[in-house]
């Protein structure tokens, strides 16, 4: 490859902002301890949601909750198990708990997966966005609904 072309490619790579920074934060509104409307009107995918719940760097829900994900050996015991949570809570109620459990319980340890990044205290600059994207939140909600 000619050196100039390589340089241009390199410059593009360096100049491109990280993908996450391109998605702007969508404000949400909770009513009666639920968020009825899907974030950004997006549709979730339960299979992707399951993978996000198990992943260490995304949801990592199983670090605190037990979930029916038997191929991952060690689930946390500090939070209530989520077996059957889709029968206990509506999709809107589940959405609020994933988006920001602090609305339900201000003292909770559970991170807000879609909280306003402007309200973080001392975020590491690499993590100044929401933990999950709006799409990922919807995927997780779609997965939780299947837990009957």
């Amino acid at each position: 490859m000619p050196r100039a072309a390589a340089l241009i490619v390199l410059c593009c790579l360096v100049a491109a902002p990280p993908l996450r920074a391109q998605e702007s934060y969508l404000a949400w509104q909770a009513d009666n301890l639920a968020i009825e409307a899907p974030l950004g009107g997006l549709r979730g995918d339960a299979a992707r949601g399951r993978a996000i719940a198990a992943s260490r760097d995304k949801g990592n829900c199983i670090s605190c909750h037990m979930l029916p994900i038997p191929e991952e050996p060690m689930h946390g015991t500090l939070a209530p198990p989520l077996f059957g949570v889709g029968a206990r809570l509506s999709a809107g109620e589940l959405r609020l708990r994933v988006v920001d459990e602090k609305v339900v319980n201000p003292e909770t340890i559970m991170p807000a997966f879609y909280g306003d990044p402007a309200r973080y205290y001392r975020p590491h600059p690499e993590f100044a966005a929401t933990i999950l994207t709006a799409q990922e939140v919807e995927d997780v909600v779609a997965y939780l609904v299947t837990l009957q």
Partner: protein, 252 residues
């Protein structure tokens, strides 16, 4: 109705005060790791102790060494006195950590340039010196002029930080003994430090551990040796008053 009851449950403060007596992270280690920590031949942290001992006995710029005042291998150092760090320093109008104490001696008694906080040599000297107090009970006095530093550390300990927006107290007070994925949460005491970390395979200062805690929470850490981390050290040490010093402990 069922739903309302469940909601009420979620609103109740969980495990308000989870522990009354401090328990060392040692109690949470697998048996083989406990045995490794207890055996001076097997304990990998003893490398840092040996390196610290060599530095301790090495003459500085003016020909004196730490050993000139404190005896060969620090025989004259008092474990009870070492267990009181950080202490209040009138000259600094604030806390003096063990590492700062060592650095002050280097500068004023050995005519050496002071080392930056957490410098590799300084951590090794600190590891050696604190190892001299192994078994002594942590005994930090925060009833006097160190009180404001203790209170500032306590505030930091209870402040939510970073993208995960959790505070130290969440894991180390409220959910002690429960599992976070594959790790049982301990009380997060400082008595093992400087400690050998199995993940890095190296000795880690307490402030280095703090920076890791901040990274885990995806927070911007304070600098090693900063007022913030020193106040956290004052709080953590006093919170663990009565625990036996384990330096060099072995931790994950």
């Amino acid at each position: 109705m069922k739903r309302a009851a469940y909601l009420l449950l979620a609103l109740l403060p969980l495990h308000a005060a989870a522990w009354e007596q401090p328990v060392s992270g040692y109690a949470y280690l697998p048996e083989q790791v406990q045995a490794m920590q207890d055996d001076p031949i097997e304990n990998p942290g003893m490398f840092a102790v040996d390196e610290g001992r060599a530095l301790f006995n090495t003459p500085g710029y003016n020909g004196k060494s730490c050993a000139s005042c404190h005896g060969t291998d620090g025989m004259k150092l008092e474990p009870q006195s070492l267990a009181r760090y950080p202490v209040y320093s009138a000259a600094r109008k604030g806390p003096l950590t063990l590492q700062q104490r060592i650095n002050d001696c280097r500068e004023n008694r050995l005519d050496e340039f002071p080392l930056p906080y957490d410098d590799a040599d300084l951590v090794r000297l600190e590891t050696f010196v604190r190892h001299r107090a192994r078994g002594a009970k942590v005994n930090v006095d925060v009833s006097g002029p160190l009180r404001p530093w203790y209170e500032a550390g306590k505030v930091l300990y209870h402040t939510r930080i970073g993208q995960l927006d959790m505070a130290c107290t969440h894991c180390h007070d409220r959910y002690v003994d429960l599992r976070l994925r594959d790790q049982v949460l301990n009380q997060g005491h400082s008595n093992a430090f400087p400690a050998h970390r199995l993940l890095s395979g190296d000795i880690s200062s307490l402030h280095g551990k703090f920076r890791d805690c901040y990274a885990t929470l995806r927070a911007l850490p304070f600098e090693v040796g900063s007022d913030e981390f020193i106040s956290l050290e004052v709080y953590l040490n006093a919170r663990g008053n009565g625990l036996a010093i384990e330096t060099p402990g072995i931790r994950r």
